[in-house]
């Protein structure tokens, strides 16, 4: 029944055509792109019968594909960047992208902070840069169709190398500024060398009213004794379908702290594939989603404790208003040799309306016997007694709710080390709550 396996949705057919048309012009080795696309194409767009996409059926959600964005002109890029506001109060080295293309002119390459190297990805791909060998560090990503779509279409991005203690945060600023819908595929590779430390800010903004389809991947290889703080903000436009992946490979005696804050896009799926690869490391992986109307936000993560004596904490908070849908799928994997693993994963959702939905699926896959692992998931409403207490002191209901929701989200946001970035996120939560009425 060869014909059955060839059945394609119009979107999938369009993706095949788009890949065939683009592969010759995309930078770098066509072979490896073709291989990636083949992996994607084996099963096509994931749908609800694919376990990892059970609650985010991309076959149903991606009815068409937007044309892939071309590199914007210097003036268009500057105009688009002028509209960005993410982490406005945070001093950082700006590394901007417009419509998925690195805005090279915006970075002063001769005046980078000490310990920071930046290589534009399109050039690196074209010239076969040696760091490219370090792409795809985490095996869990390799079967993932969203990741492989990015590998097929990635047009630009940067490779960053961090050596020593870098004080200035680095801000990867993505802006989809096009007025008409575009698709983008960016890839970031970050090499944090042994003993180095850095704060990475990542923001994604875009125009409202256009059905953009960004698919971005950040791959982070952090060596031994590294200290990495990562703050990601999704403020995509209101019609955007945003797919994103963070792949992390962490060395020993290291600390990694990441948060993804969803305050934009109509549909989003953020995937984390984290591999704790050296002993005595600690990872704190958090998420905050604020969704309303018909928004859909999916956080899916796999944390593999590939080495013994590591600690991981995952804390995901979702606030749901209107008819929005939240998804949390988290899995901690502990192979038989990873003794003394300490892993704790928690997803908590707050439903502010009758019509909202939360799908929670936390899992543990434990093969070692001497471990401490736990997971939990809750889904509830605001506590009426607490609301009454606040209202009895004069706070109108909306304001009382706002204080309680802020407190709820604050538990995840407070892990952000950079004060300005943290304040920025708190302000976003406040704005979101104020906009509810």
């Amino acid at each position: 029944m060869a014909q059955l396996t060839l059945m394609r949705t119009p979107t999938e057919t369009a993706l095949v055509q788009a890949f065939d048309a683009a592969k010759a012009t995309l930078p770098g080795d066509v072979e490896s792109r073709a291989k990636a696309f083949e992996i994607f194409n084996r099963n096509g767009l994931p749908h609800r019968r694919v376990e990892e996409f059970k609650y985010t059926d991309l076959r149903a959600l991606m009815r068409e594909i937007a044309p892939f964005a071309v590199k914007p002109s210097a003036s268009d890029a500057a105009a688009a960047l002028a509209k960005t506001t993410a982490f406005a109060g945070t001093e950082a080295l700006d590394v901007p992208f417009v419509n998925g293309h690195f805005v090279r002119d915006a970075v002063k390459f001769d005046a980078l902070p000490e310990g920071v190297e930046i290589v534009p990805l399109a050039e690196a791909l074209a010239s076969g840069h040696e760091w490219l060998a370090r792409l795809s560090p985490v095996a869990w990503a390799k079967d993932n169709p969203v990741y492989q779509l990015n590998s097929s279409f990635m047009a630009d991005g940067v490779m960053l190398r961090i050596v020593g203690a870098v004080e200035t945060p680095i801000h990867l600023r993505f802006m989809t500024g096009s007025e008409t819908a575009v698709a983008t595929a960016t890839r970031i590779l970050i090499l944090v060398e042994d003993g180095a430390s850095v704060t990475l800010l990542e923001s994604h903004e875009g125009t409202n009213g256009a059905a953009h389809q960004p698919n971005d991947v950040v791959e982070l290889i952090a060596g031994d004794r590294t200290n990495v703080h990562h703050v990601r903000l999704n403020r995509e436009g209101d019609q955007t379908l945003a797919l994103s992946t963070l792949a992390l490979k962490l060395g020993g005696d290291a600390y990694f702290n990441s948060i993804n804050v969803v305050a934009g896009s109509s549909i989003s799926r953020h995937q984390v594939f984290a591999m704790l690869n050296g002993e005595n490391s600690k990872a704190q992986i958090n998420g905050v989603s604020m969704i309303k109307g018909g928004q859909h936000a999916d956080s899916t993560l796999i944390v593999e404790h590939a080495a013994p004596h590591c600690e991981s904490r995952e804390l995901f908070k979702t606030v749901i208003d209107g008819e929005a849908t939240g998804v949390f799928q988290g899995k901690i994997i502990v192979p038989h040799h990873a003794q003394k693993t300490d892993g704790r994963m928690m997803s908590a959702a707050l439903l502010l309306s009758e019509g909202g939905t939360m799908n929670n699926k936390p899992e543990l896959e434990i093969f070692a016997d001497d471990v401490q692992c736990a997971h939990g998931a809750t889904c509830g409403q605001l506590d009426d007694d607490l609301l009454f207490y606040l209202m009895a002191r004069g706070l109108p209901r909306m304001e009382a709710e706002r204080l309680l929701v802020q407190a709820f989200l604050g538990e995840a946001i407070e892990f952000v080390d950079n004060e300005a970035a943290r304040d920025g996120l708190i302000a976003i939560a406040e704005d979101w709550l104020k906009a509810r009425v």
């Binding site: 607490l386 207490y389 002191r393 004069g394 706070l395 109108p396």
Partner: protein, 250 residues
């Protein structure tokens, strides 16, 4: 100032208040005493506007205005304050943020301008000093990790800052040590004024030695069954509620 007429309240088909009548005049301190479960906290919640209760009959007038249709926040802005029998802990809501939000929400509702931050801090500090509330307690989440007595002091601190016209104290004395009882009572007495009334719910005559009431009311099975002067509290202390339970049974 506060007039409660024939108040009948139930919760989940349990009749708790059975035609309660009570009047507290302007500037008056009225005490309510009564056995456990007689409905004292229910009365205080219904006055403050808690939603769980079904008011089947009667009215509650604050300066002639029926407040039963008002939300709890509107009642607070109108000058009503309830010091809870069991103040709630709210993790993640900083005490100072909460206090400022509460004061300014009430001012806004009354059409007054908001307090400036320095002015607010000055007032909090003054009240905290008077009530011997340590400053670092105010840096924590609201009531989080406070002892029972500390929570009660925090309630009185809020009352002092919000300057209500009608204050209900629901067993504010329970859980207080001897020194705290004195401090809290002095805090309350300092707020006594010809324009401010109090409804003090307590089980113990001792509190009424500090906060001397103008009237004492005995509540039993959801009604005020006897009213008198402050000597009534002494009588209750000596004889208990046995007499009033008989009235109920009869």
């Amino acid at each position: 100032m506060l007039q409660i007429k024939n108040l009948v309240v139930q919760i989940e088909d349990n009749r708790i208040l059975n035609g309660l009548n009570l009047t507290v005049n302007k500037g008056e301190v009225a005490a309510i005493m009564g056995p456990n479960g007689s409905g004292k906290s229910t009365l205080s919640y219904v006055i403050a506007g808690k939603a769980d209760y079904e008011v089947l009959d009667g009215e509650i007038l604050l300066d002639g205005q029926n407040i039963l249709e008002m939300g709890p926040d509107e009642r607070a802005a109108a000058g009503l304050f309830l010091a809870f029998q069991y103040p709630l802990e709210i993790p993640g809501v900083a005490s100072m943020t909460f206090l400022k939000a509460a004061i300014n929400a009430q001012r806004k509702a009354r059409g007054e301008i908001e307090l400036t931050t320095p002015d607010f801090i000055r007032r909090v500090n003054a009240a905290a000093t008077k009530l011997e509330v340590p400053k670092d307690m105010l840096k924590r989440g609201l009531n989080v990790g406070f002892s029972g007595g500390e929570k009660k002091r925090m309630e009185i601190l809020q009352m002092a800052l919000l300057e209500p016209r009608f204050c209900i104290l629901d067993e504010t004395d329970s859980g207080l040590d001897i020194d705290a009882l004195r401090i809290v009572s002095e805090g309350v007495n300092a707020l006594r004024s010809p324009d401010r009334s109090f409804l003090v719910i307590t089980h113990y005559q001792r509190l009424l030695n500090y906060i001397v009431p103008d009237s004492v009311h005995v509540m039993s099975a959801g009604r005020i069954v006897k009213s008198g002067g402050k000597e009534l509290a002494l009588e209750l202390e000596a004889n208990g509620y046995a007499d009033y339970r008989e009235i109920e049974a009869a």
